[in-house]
Amino acid sequence: MSACFTRPPMALSKRWLFVGGLLGAALSAKSQNTAPYRHSSYGDVGAIAFDPMQDDPRFQLCDEHHLAQSYQVNPKYPLGTAALQQRLRTAFAAHSPCRRATGTITVRFLISCTGETGRFRVYAVDTAYRPTAFPPEVAQYLLQAIRSVGRWQPGTYQHHAYDSYKFLSFRLQAGQLVTIFP
């Protein structure tokens, strides 16, 4: 009993340090963003749920509940980014430029664990990153270009192939394609 009372105060602070460390580790555990999360939901930022009005029902995912972000599993274009960009530029250049289009168009889509693509969504912003509307044919040209590049190498983590999100952004200046990123 007396031992409890004679314990130096340092022991208590060490204990609290240990507890604090454990709590800190627990709190920071979910901050790891470059590994797939245990679950994904369609409420997540940027999630794309199936929409029968615009999505191809033949596009199948391997696991609807574990959709990874591209930066977690790194899906790749088999011929490399430079080849992908070259193909997209060529496909886009085949159409006549629409001079009203200035800003950034982002096409976000899903790559299944077999490398198929689907559920395309288009977002457009102006040069100040405010939402804007581009002429619809511009989005159509870009969607056609992305669809035309063929299969992808699916994203993997610890030798397991995942369905994953991917996006490609196109900066346009008066209808001319300036940059493709990220």
């Binding site: 930022v45 980014t81 990153y129 996006f167 990220p182």
Partner: protein
């Protein structure tokens, strides 16, 4: 007596109200900070995480870091309208804290080089005669990279020199960011100053011997000088180091001039077949 009581009561009400409103702000701030911390229990970009950030901002609408945190998953996932809206809020509240980060995002994630230069210069102006770092990278280095991307290699070189000098002064010559040398070499290559490019790349490899980009651009400069044997050795080294994983890579975005296997193979083939340099473009 009655008047005194009324004034006393009024004084008490005013005093209590004052104390409560004075205390309410710290309490609200504490609640906001708690929501901000607890959101780490859920994955970034998940509904609970974003809702907790909303709650943090409801408790304390001036908590700039909560706006920044809200912006991150949107920008990482390509929703720039939302991402930049929240990031702009954070910058409006604390420009000294977050302007550098916005410049960094514009450079690497949005490829908006003029916007990045604008932000980084404003950020630099807050602390004259001091070398700032934006998101951990030397401000002059980032400015140099922006100018390099804007095809202004002379301006870029001036900034890379400034960045190297500042880092060397602060931490010693060994601790200069190796990519300062790499991008300076690429600037020299675009000016067709191949011996200067090789000199920069040698400075890099003296400090970090394993860098596939350094070997690749050295091979490119040697190829331009038609030093075939040395170019062949360099491109082989680039291929080996690339396969071993000694390459500049990031999960979120492609680095400027990021190296890829097909580019190495194209250059290797050109060197082996001694294709005249004018017929091969830098990838």
């Amino acid at each position: 007596m009655n008047t005194r009581r009324i004034y006393g009561l009024l004084g008490l009400v005013v005093g209590v109200t004052g104390i409560l409103s004075w205390q309410a702000k710290p309490v609200r701030h504490w609640l906001a900070e708690t929501c901000f911390t607890v959101k780490n229990l859920w994955p970034q970009g998940s509904p609970p995480s974003q809702h907790l950030l909303d709650a943090a901002l409801w408790f304390d609408p001036y908590l700039a870091k909560a706006y920044l945190e809200k912006s991150v998953p949107f920008n990482k996932r390509g929703d720039y309208a939302q991402g930049m809206y929240y990031l702009n809020q954070a910058v409006a509240l604390q420009p000294r804290e977050y302007l550098g980060y916005r410049g960094w995002v514009r450079l690497y994630m949005l490829r908006d080089y003029t916007g990045a230069i604008r932000d980084l210069r404003r950020y630099d102006a807050f602390t004259p005669h001091f070398t700032d770092a934006a998101w951990g990278e030397n401000l002059y280095f980032l400015l140099g990279l922006n100018y390099l991307q804007l095809q202004q290699p002379r301006q870029a070189l001036a900034y890379f020199r400034q960045a190297s000098a500042a880092e060397s002064r602060q931490s010693g010559p060994y601790y200069v960011n190796p990519y300062n040398y790499l991008y300076a070499a690429i600037a020299h290559v675009s000016l067709q100053q191949y011996p200067s490019a090789i000199q920069q790349l040698d400075s890099l490899t003296q400090r970090h011997s394993k860098c596939s980009e350094a070997a690749y651009y050295k091979a490119w400069a040697l190829y331009q000088l038609q030093q075939w044997a040395a170019a062949a050795r360099s491109i082989d080294l680039a291929a080996t180091q690339y396969q071993q994983g000694y390459c500049h890579w990031n999960a979120y975005y492609d680095y400027p001039y990021q190296l890829e296997q097909p580019a190495i193979e194209t250059l290797r083939k050109a060197i082996q077949q001694r294709v005249p340099p004018a017929r091969v473009a830098l990838q």
